[in-house]
């Protein structure tokens, strides 16, 4: 017996390639979101003309962020994810020392381009106070990649 009513088209879109591509995109974003460095804080890094800087080495490191405030002053620090007040330089030394003893080989110093040098110097001296002569990396803004 024949069906009544409208006949359905026999053409169906093949969804399989689209789902494959979509899954690949999901995997990409999952991976990328995992490799973002959570220790860094967004700030306007210095960008010198004709920079002779290079890519930081892949060595294990601890990141010291100097959080900028208005007029070149600072609000505090974020050291290896720990938020500290501007007066807590001793804690900067302690956290950096702990990471260096735990295998870190370098200290990455990130500061806003407007920050006054007096604050940078205080942090450098706090890092020097760990006593093991660590290698410092002054982080600047590179080319957009």
């Amino acid at each position: 017996m024949k069906r009544r009513g409208k006949t359905t088209s026999g053409i169906h879109a093949n969804m399989t390639p689209m789902i494959d591509v979509t899954f690949l995109l999901i995997v990409f974003f999952v991976v990328v979101s995992q490799i973002v460095d959570r220790d860094t804080v967004a700030m306007d890094l210095p960008r010198p003309d004709h920079a002779a800087s290079g890519l930081p080495e892949k060595a294990e490191h601890v990141v010291v962020n100097i959080i900028p405030a208005e007029d070149g002053d600072i609000r505090g620090f974020v050291v290896a994810g720990h938020e500290l007040e501007a007066s807590a330089l001793h804690d900067v030394t302690s956290i950096v020392q702990t990471h260096l003893q735990g295998g870190a080989q370098e200290v990455h110093l990130r500061a806003d381009k407007t920050t006054k040098y007096i604050y940078i110097h205080e942090v450098i001296e706090a890092i020097r106070a760990v006593g093991s002569a660590p290698r410092l990396q002054l982080i600047v803004s590179g080319d957009e990649r």
């Binding site: 960008r47 020097r128 290698r135 410092l136 600047v140």
Partner: protein, 134 residues
């Protein structure tokens, strides 16, 4: 199922923060040694850096010592390059390992201090330190 897959895709696209490429200048941080005197021929070259404005180019430079006046980053670059010891003729005053101390003032903007550091690195000097603020 495709609805859920698209939701997941949108979620991860929104949640992902792309990291801006960063570069660095390496600097050794030796321990302070009190009371040591540098040999006369190895006396560090001291570069004073001061901000004169908020633009990247608003930086003034001065050399400590009996050197020709240098006021800009371009002048500093020319001075460092022209006075570097040449491996061929052995002319020049400073070897690549000559100690160079960059001394910004307390109010110098970090970008200006880094710009001076960059000029010295670009001139192939390797023994560079950021000094106490002047």
């Amino acid at each position: 199922m495709i609805d859920v897959v698209f939701l997941l895709l949108v979620y991860f696209m929104v949640a992902t923060e792309f990291k801006t490429a960063e570069e660095s200048f390496p600097m050794d941080l030796p321990l302070r040694q009190g009371g040591t005197l540098a040999a006369l021929d190895n006396e560090p070259l001291v570069i004073l850096v001061e901000s004169s404005g908020v633009q990247a180019s608003d930086v003034s430079i001065r050399l400590v010592g009996p050197w020709d006046p240098v006021v800009s980053l371009q002048g500093l670059s020319a001075f460092l390059t022209s006075n570097q010891v040449s491996l061929i003729s052995m002319d020049g005053l400073f070897a690549q390992t000559h100690p160079i101390r960059i001394q910004p003032t307390v109010n110098t903007r970090w970008e200006h201090a880094v710009s001076a550091y960059n000029v010295v690195v670009d001139a192939n000097y390797t023994n560079i330190t950021l000094d106490d603020p002047s």
